[in-house]
Symmetry: C2
């Protein structure tokens, strides 16, 4: 870590309109802050404030908060007032949000994770992104079954009880929809990181390795090269997974972030296919079939395909390649001062661990290496932070990740040279956020 | 991993009454299961069931579930039906719970995390244990301040905005109340692991290192050997922290598990003191004072002290020593069959990483080494799993953790020989769960 923050006052960021503070709260905060900063507290008047002893609120120019607050005088809420806790009333604006008009039916749509307001690598379970093909259900786990059949010696039907008694494994992994950042293929840049990159979450998953179930049922190793996974909801989501992946790190999972899966995320059972696009993480998992060739289902032949420049389409692209994004400052935010900023973001690769993230503030001419927060885990989000001092002139913030296999995140023009502009899926290009002299941050494409 | 699960049918566990399935649901499940098992599906009849094709529910002996379920036929709920998601309706019984009568006022009490129903190492944020001294509050972050003063060159008052603009760090750590497992000092064994060990949680915390704030304010390194942390709630919780710890890995944190802290956990600001008992993780943090000696506050001289056999009390015990517990099977549960069980639990040490966990099924005569799930992080919970086949005779399940510094979890009689039986705090003894021939699991003390 450099010591840029020593160089002066840290800059303030006004969040994007749909960030975690409401606009009127922010306006009020800005006014209060101007009065406050007028007293130059940051640069030295703190001593005067501190002279007020326990009256830590002194010197704010706001008579109301000179009063000893209620929470210091009174008796608060009891324990277990909420048997299951919820966020603060002051954080209500931090939500997963649908992008209106993205699909014709809200039951077959997406809600995006508000990356701009999150911290670390674990996505709050309540803000995990949603992608439903025929809506979500809250299935009675006592009636849910998983069938394993096809090229196996002994087909079986497992209850949830059966599965949860088997040897389990827990692992932290990211999940990213193959269509994440899909709007950036053209020039249709969406305004905020929630909508550009918010089909991305990370959690700790617990389940039984699929390899264990296949072992119990006795796969035909000579012929059984592929696995089909099918969900129980009305979309009959079906995806082919290679036997190599199935025997490696795929989990039949019932838990995320310490508790049973949420209904929106496939309760009571979903497949976890580390490093692979979210559509393969089949929700409401009810059937695994072993076969000798890819199953060529609708969801891998017509959907989730890459339309190439020559008009052909590419199937079975599934690994989410190395990628990163600066989550703050990011589109829609407003830098309110020159000075120090902690630039923070996320990096990930479907091939393994992140090795390094570089950050540029001048659109890719100069790069500095960010520090990575621990732990850095394979096929998991990695949080990066780096110091930056904004001098008030226009800037373009970018991050560029490299993974342990040597893959480096490409520029958007490099990707377009190979893939064209008509794709929806598998865009892992470097993201650019332009900071105007006014402090406004906008989504731009730089190459 | 051994292959014990190959040896036959996996055993079923009936959860403790306050586990995640309601008792009547369980009775029903047991009856259904008996009918189901009567068809010997697990041992081979799966082929017949699978012959039903996509009708995965076939052969269950319950006509109702031969119908194609509603969720396979209909259109489900839309995205963002819940802007902030919640657990399944079927998991309502998994709650943090108060232990009635533990304290006289519920605003100065404890609610315990239901460890028996959790997975992995991340505690669901909504089930994080609570310990309040004067109730919890949902403080307006725009009005919250942190003062840093005492033996510093420039005392300062920080707003939340100030703090959140500084270089931040994210780390996964456990938090354990010093009184966790306190009821086991005598022979007052509580029935379930929720109440015996549930003042324990683990999360990913994000904040600014306390060292950074002390650096900004300019600590007097010659004299300033101690730090006082004070909370803003009515209990005026105050704790001394050594400067060594303060400059090491202590965070002034605003986020847990990716989002802003919950009100019950100190929103908008709490201290994170890795490896140290929870009381030092001061909630609603409003003041940091640097001093030249311990502050001898009420919460470290009268409370959170260790009453020794000779009648004296020991102060400033703060590191949570190496400890572990089997969370399933555990007290109050009922093993319903002989056969295979996945024995699972948690291990942790305030001194660093867990190196190894051994598990005994015969009260400590024989031990086998459990497998540790990744990641194994310093001062964080570590999940362990191990295979066990129950032959139907009485058994005593125990786990014994060792950390990377060489500390090994003691037996309760070893701890009592030094500490007596009148303590409340800092009990890290090996926990014993007795399995009766009937399958009932009970909390016992074995030495």
């Amino acid at each position: 870590m450099t010591s840029l923050w020593r160089s002066g006052m840290p800059g303030r960021i006004r969040p994007a309109p749909e960030n975690h503070l409401a606009a009127d709260t922010l306006d009020e905060a800005m006014k209060a802050r101007r009065r406050f900063m007028g007293k130059a507290l940051w640069m030295g008047a703190g001593a005067a404030a501190a002279a007020g002893g326990a009256r830590a609120d002194i010197g704010q120019g706001d008579p109301a908060i000179l009063e000893l607050p209620e929470h210091t005088r009174g008796l608060g809420q009891p324990v277990a007032a909420r048997a299951y806790g919820l966020p603060s009333q002051w954080e209500k604006n931090l939500q997963r949000r649908e992008s209106p008009g993205l699909t014709r039916v809200a039951a077959a749509s997406v809600s995006f994770t508000p990356l701009q307001g999150l911290f670390g690598i674990i996505t709050p379970t309540g803000l995990h992104f949603e992608r439903h093909h025929q809506g979500w259900w809250d299935i009675d786990p006592s009636r849910h079954r998983l069938m394993v059949h096809g090229l196996v010696r002994e087909p079986r039907v497992f209850t949830m009880d059966d599965l949860m008694r088997l040897p389990s494994a827990s692992r932290i992994h990211f999940i990213e929809c193959g269509a994440n950042t899909g709007m950036e293929w053209g020039n249709v840049a969406v305004p905020t990181v929630q909508y550009s990159h918010g089909m991305l979450s990370c959690g700790e998953f617990t389940g039984v390795p699929l390899a264990t179930l296949l072992d119990i049922c006795g796969i035909d190793r000579a012929k059984g090269g592929f696995v089909l996974a099918e969900g129980a909801d009305g979309s009959s989501m079906t995806r082919t997974i290679s036997m190599q992946a199935a025997l490696d790190d795929v989990l039949v999972a019932w838990a995320m972030n310490g508790e049973m899966l949420r209904p929106e995320n496939g309760y009571p059972l979903r497949l976890v296919v580390p490093g692979v696009q979210g559509v393969s993480w089949v929700k409401y998992l009810r059937r695994i079939e072993v076969g000798d060739q890819p199953f060529h289902t609708k969801d891998e032949t017509v959907h989730y395909i890459d339309l190439m420049p020559d008009g052909r389409h590419r199937q079975f692209t599934s690994i989410q390649e190395v990628k990163s994004v600066v989550t703050s400052p990011s589109g829609g935010q407003l830098l309110m001062d020159r000075g120090y900023y902690n630039v923070t973001g996320l990096a990930w690769s479907g091939r393994g661990r992140i090795r390094r993230v570089d950050v540029s503030a001048d659109g890719g001419r100069n790069w500095r290496t960010a520090r990575l927060e621990q732990p850095v885990l394979p096929k998991a989000l990695t949080r990066f932070n780096i110091d930056w001092t904004w001098d008030g002139s226009p800037a373009v913030l970018q991050s560029r990740a490299a993974d342990e296999t040597g893959h480096v995140q490409p520029k958007i023009n490099q990707l377009r040279a190979v893939r064209g502009t008509r794709s929806i899926y598998h865009n892992n290009a470097i993201q650019s956020w332009k900071v105007a002299a006014s402090g406004e941050v906008a989504n731009v494409q730089v190459w």
